[in-house]
Each structure stands twice: as C-alpha cells, then as structure tokens.
Symmetry: C2
Subunit: 506 residues, 2 copies
Amino acid sequence: MPLLGLLPRRAWAALLSQLLRPPCASCTGAVRCQSQVAEAVLTSQLKAHREKPNFIVKTPKGTRDLSPQHMVVREKILDLVISCFKRHGAKGMDTPAFELKETLTEKYGEDSGLMYDLKDQGGELLSLRYDLTVPFARYLAMNKVKKMKRYHVGKVWRRESPSIVQGRYREFCQCDFDIAGQFDPMIPDAECLKIMCEILSGLQLGDFLIKVNDRRIVDGMFAACGVPESKFRAICSSIDKLDKMAWKDVRHEMVAKKGLAPEVADRIGDYVQCHGGVSLVEQMFQDPRLSQNKQALEGLGDLKLLFEYLTLFGIAEKISFDLSLARGLDYYTGVIYEAVLLQTPTQAGEEPLNVGSVAAGGRYDGLVGMFDPKGHKVPCVGLSIGVERIFYIVEQRMKTKGEKVRTTETQVFVATPQKNFLQERLKLITELWDAGIKAEMLYKNNPKLLTQLHYCESTGIPLVVITGEQELKEGIIKIRSVASREEVAIKREDLVAEIQKRLSES
Amino acid sequence: MPLLGLLPRRAWAALLSQLLRPPCASCTGAVRCQSQVAEAVLTSQLKAHREKPNFIVKTPKGTRDLSPQHMVVREKILDLVISCFKRHGAKGMDTPAFELKETLTEKYGEDSGLMYDLKDQGGELLSLRYDLTVPFARYLAMNKVKKMKRYHVGKVWRRESPSIVQGRYREFCQCDFDIAGQFDPMIPDAECLKIMCEILSGLQLGDFLIKVNDRRIVDGMFAACGVPESKFRAICSSIDKLDKMAWKDVRHEMVAKKGLAPEVADRIGDYVQCHGGVSLVEQMFQDPRLSQNKQALEGLGDLKLLFEYLTLFGIAEKISFDLSLARGLDYYTGVIYEAVLLQTPTQAGEEPLNVGSVAAGGRYDGLVGMFDPKGHKVPCVGLSIGVERIFYIVEQRMKTKGEKVRTTETQVFVATPQKNFLQERLKLITELWDAGIKAEMLYKNNPKLLTQLHYCESTGIPLVVITGEQELKEGIIKIRSVASREEVAIKREDLVAEIQKRLSES
C-alpha cells in the first residue's frame, strides 16, 4: 500500500480505526471483505482531499445536471402530461424524498437491493424513495383516505448500473397518475389507458401500442403450466425481461437459475407468444388449461369488460392483449399494461419494431392494506409516464433536425449607442418590468451597440428599444425588430403600450 | 432489556453482531457509546417489524406530505416567483439531489453538521444538497461557464431540530435566482433587490423592508473594534442571530463562548444598533474607526452606488442599511441582504414589528473558484426567496379568513338520472376530453343523480351535462349550472361548442 505513505497523520488514524473493525456479516470471518477495505481507502482519500483541495469536480455517478436546454424540453413535455392529468380531474400532491426504510422494504421484489439508504446519523433508518407508488399507498393508509385521484411528478432514485448512453440515470423523474377507491370494475382502469393514449398522441412521438395483461392471468397461466406457487414471483420477473431478452435466454434463466422443469418452461413458451385483440381474450376463455383456472377466468372476464370500455373511448385499436407482459414489480394484483413506441417499418410488410416502453402501470389492490394496522384494503390502479425516455427521444430528434430552443423568454432588450447612459437605461427597464414585460439589458456602464444587438440575435430576443441623447431631447424612443432590422421612432410616453401591442401581434 | 426476549432468532443474531463491534473513534474505549447501542437496538427493531408488520406508518422526522390543498397554494406562489425570474431573463436549471460529500464540505461554516449523508453502499461518499448555491457554483466551475443568469427551484435538506409549529421542516423548497459573471459594480446586485421587491409586492404579503449590509463592512467593523481575524466568521455567526436573540444574549455568546474581550463586544454593540438609508452610508464614511479600514471603505463605496441604482429602480425607500445584518453562511464576500415582513403597527407611533425573514442573498465572489483546479474566480450575486415561510403565511391567512381552495380544475361533470347508462356517459366524456375540456364522471354503473350533483357542489365543478333515455331519443342534452341550478337543453351535436362558449364567458 504505497498510497498510505502520503497520508497525513489524522487520515492515518482514521484508516487504522476502519481496518480494525471486525469483518462484515457476509464474510467468512477469515479474510477482511473487499467492501470494508474499499470504504477505509475511500475515507482516507476524502481526508487527504480536504487537505489538498484538488478533488475531481463532478456530479455523483449515474446523475447529471439539467442544463437550461434540457429544462426547456422538460417543461414543455411535463406541461402536456400534467394538463392531461388535470383534464381527468386529478389533484396534485407530494411526499418527502426519503421514507422510513421499513416503508419501502419488501415492496419491490428482486429490485429492493437498488435502494439508496441514508447514513444512520443517530435518528431513524431512511431510504430515498424508489418510486411514487409506495409513498402514495403509505399516504392513503396513514391519512385513512379511501378515495383519491391524484398525480405526482417527482424525482426517484435507484442504484442501477447506469447506462448513460440509453438515457438511463440513477436519479430520474416519474410522472404518476393513480385512482384509489372501491369502484365498479374496469372503469378507472380503462380511464388510465385512455390517459396514456391522450399523452402519447399529444406528444407526437409516432405510432404506439399498449400491451395489456392481468396478473391473475399470468398466475393462472403459471399454475396451469405447472409452476410451483413459491416460484410465481421469480418466474414473473424472468418473463418481464422478454422485451429485452430472447425467449431462449429467458427460458435458460428460468430452468438453470430458477430451477423450473424444462417442460413447464416450454408450456409457458407457448403462451407468451400470443398477442391480439379482444378475439384473443375470447380464444383464451376456451383454452383447455386456462379455462380450468378460476383466477385466470376472473382476469379474462375483466379484460373482456375493459375492451368494451376501450371501444367506447375510441382507443381499442391501440391496445394489444399480450400474454408475455408480466411487469417486474411485486405489488400488482390485476390488470397490467405497458406502452411501447413502434418505429415506422422500413419496408412494407415488415413487423413494426419495438423501441422501448414509454409508459406503464396496473392495478395494485393489496399495497395500501400492507400499511394499515388492520389490513384494510384500498383498491388502486394507476400509470407512470416514462418521461425520461420521452425527454431523451425528443432531445435526440431535435438534435437530428438541428432544432434549437430558446432558453429564456425575454421579449425586449434595452440598448443605447451612447456612453454614460446607464441611468436612462435603468429607468426604461424599470418601466418595462413594472408593466410585466420580460426585459434585459447588459450590466455594463458603456456597452457597444454592436455587442448589445449581437446579444439579442444570439439569444433570440425579438425587440430592442434604443435610446440616446438625441432621442431623450426629442422625447422619442426607437423600437427595432431584431429579425427585420427595421426601426421606428415612437413617443417616449407610448413605450409600454407600443411594446405590448407588438408583442400581442406576434 | 426485556425487549430482547421478544426478538426472533435472526434479529437476535443481528443484534449480537452489532454489539460485538468495537467502540467508535469518539468513545474512550472503556464504555460502549450510546449511538452504537442505539443503532443496534434500531436494527433489531427493524428486523422485528419486518416479521410483525405493525410498525408505525409515518413520514420521517421533520418531513411531511404535501396534500392537494398545500400544492394548490404552492403552485400559485411558485408561478408568481418563477414568472418574475423569467421577466428578468433567467434560464432554468437543475442539479442532482445529492452531491459528492467533498463538494459540500467546508462551505457552510457552523451549520455543516446538519447535512444528510448517504450510507456508504460501496461507491462514492454522498450528501443531500444543503442549498442550491453551492451546486450552482460547482456547475459553473465544472462546465467552465463564465456568465449565466439562472433560477433554480428545488428541494434541499437540513437536519435541523424541526420546529414544525413555525413551519420549519428538514425537507424544504428553495427558489434561487443568481447572476454569475464579471460586470460593472452593483448593477446585477441592484437587480437582485429589484426582483425581491417585485416578488414581495406581487405576493401581497403586506409591508416589507430589505436590510442591506456588506461583508467587507462587517469585517471592517470587526477589525476596527479589535476582533482577532481568526474569530471573524465565528463572531459573524453570532451577529447573525440578532434577529432571533437579544443583544444581551448575543454578547454573552461572543464573550463567554467565543472568547471575545468584553470591551470589543461593546464596541460592536454600538455599531449593530445603526440602521438607516443612504444618509447612514455617508455618516459611516466619516466614522473615526471605519474610515480607517480599507475593506469597510470599499463596501461603503459600493453601497453608495447601490443606493443610486435602487433610486432609479424606484425601490430605495424599501431598503435599509443595517449594520446588524451579518448572514450566517461562510461564502458571502460583498453586499448581503435580507427581506423582512413588517406587521402593521397596532398603535400609531409604535415601531413596525419584524415577523421574520422571507428572502435573502448576497454576493459570493470566491465560491466558484473553490471548485476550479486553477482557482479561476467567477463573481456571483443572488437571492433566495423563503417560499416555505411564505407558503405558511398564506396558508395561515386563508385559514383565518375561512378561504377554501379547489384542488381540481374540472370544468364539466357528466351525469345521468338513468340506470344502465354507462355506455352513453363514456361516449360523452370522451368527446369532452378529446376537445381538451376538463371532465369527470363517477366510476359507477348506476350512480344516483343526487350523489352526482352533490359531488359537483362539494368539489366546485361549475357545469354538469345531463343525459338520459328521453334526451338521447330527442337528440338533445341538458347543461346545468351548479351555482344557479338552472338547466337548458341544447342539441346533442352542439355540446362541445356550447360548453366551450360557457367556459370562455365565465
């Protein structure tokens, strides 16, 4: 360890105290575990950095800053999404960024290890929220709310291996809409699908398809194929990977890693190839294996009703009953769905290509009951718009087209060709601001006129007002259109009215 | 420890392994420290809870959920604040919720212990952001940005003793506006004060005052009074408490806890009572002690220029030069300011009462350089609106006045007195949604008309469309105004146009 020779005395002491800890629970006890050594080295590095302050300036792994360019695209997309949620009568709400660790434990299945925990600083054990659904269920139970239609836009955090190229980060935004309450079957569920269609159409991302299935059909299919009940959730997780992995590899995972009998896997393989419209629902009612399973029949019955409502909503042709859809999270109990964008086929007759999930959701009737001391249930159904994926797609398209966005909304620039004219510019811009007009000027006593005009062109400000000694003497002011470079002189006292007239015309 | 008898075997094992750890570095070694025992007990309790899932359902200490009622008030206030930032040409941006711990270390002075650290899960050492200013400075240095006017609205986290009664939480929202770049003196600084005035006037919170001072005047005053330079920041922290503590107590802290000579404290005491307008600036230029100090003179010169610009902005009467203003954070280097609301005096002649700070900021010319490998500086000045305090004041006022807010924006409700009329309602509401109209209906096959109308009244929906067999047969539909209870029949095909007409009139 040649590194240690460079450490100051206090850092040495800290490192030693770290190394003197006993091995962690997951070690054999004979050898100190890698993570402890890594932690000790890290701590000592941090101490060293403090004394020599040339550490690397960066954002944490898997995270990034959002520049003004990003923010403009996001604001536009989020506005459209939130408008749709409000059009459907949803209320807004928010929850803390972190929850008690117990609140999140055992809600997410195989993914639970990806939670960010907070350091124990002598208080409660806390973790950053992993999605917005579990906090919503906790909120309902805690406040004994039996009925609520809400949306929630907020950040969530997952310690996944970041693959930044695909636009996946460890910190990302979720946009959720959920309907909690005991209602007649499939009416809120159908509305969730309607909302997904409205948003995806509104965003003009191209053609899309929403795959629909039901957890009871998935479980019924597993039972009918001979999967032991104890393996249901594990096999469900494997099936969920079918959109990223070939059947061959998923089959291998189920048989080799999860101990499923090969003939059982093959029976599942027959089902997960099936997708279609309401006619496939009818067909599955007749399926010799599924029709024997009570759960599967319940799911099929609900799907049939769902398709009836989707037809009335005018969106049935966007929906595909797909037996390969399983959804990874543990808490779903009924209908589940996932929207995918379809790339335009390159040649006629080709199958449309799946370019990834952009929205998903489902019914979770048991989650709220997990937080209620008496286990009282509140049935829920909801959806999450994959806005990060959508931000990424829209940004890529703009890049391809060479589109630029304005990152400010400034309408008027206050300029002068005159030296020592700061006072007059300050008075002018005050008038504009006080009238609610978005205005800027340069923070210089004597800027050059060319610099001022160039600033307007590069930032897209449409209008310039120009003043100088001559104008001041004559009681006039000039308004210049940046695009046409035309200038007109108006009376000084008409400034605000003239600007407002021009802005309302454009 | 009678508790332990109740623990399941696995929890026992975990507790034992915790107790067998050596004492932490801050202990004497002889006795196990309190925090380790507390941690071990907590861990065992968590295990126990998992097996008996009746843990307390709550939000973490010092945090809370934001209900739809809260969100409506927030949205309105944030809209006004952000509009003002945009009116002054600011761009939006965002940074991750957490930063490398090193990024935040040694930026906040005495408060640094209040940071939330993330658990070391085998990666980088991370902390939740403590404000939006340090991440902004890190962003500028990392991207070598030399000039930027940006706003940032986001959550920050501080492990303060929460005093929930006063509306202070450990998670709270900050709204910052900053101008980075090398400009002519005091022009951006004056704009920051103008923005504070526009926002506080716009929010109609009542009369307010902005206290202004300069760190160079504070330091000059300390030097002139005989404070040793090594104690400048510590004494500054004490002075910062003058808005919450009496001079007597602040003096005690400086003398007894921070080792200041009593006569030095008394000299400071004379200055911190001074406040006034630009005439006080002139007076301080003549002060026998301050006028000997180069730093103080620089600060006074800048304040004089600042007042000139504030007069042109029409806000000079809102500003008070106040020698007791010090600001707690370490990073300020020049002008500092803090806005306070003034309660209406109960009797003529009484001094207006300070009800707390609602906005603050200042100049920090050295912070960006701390992140630059070569120490290149980017001068910055900015402000933060204390929106949590403002949310609280507005909510309290609404409560006092008995004002209620609508938490949804629904414009039209689709109702029927008829049984088995779900299909028609679904078709109707689809038409409304597809026309961009905000519409709701009950998720029941056969809701009672009274229930439907009651829902509209209780949630403030202004219009109801009512359909039934008779209406369907005649090709008409009824529109009902919830407020007046008037109903008119219109042609079915005119529905959307008629609704839009009524909504644009209201």
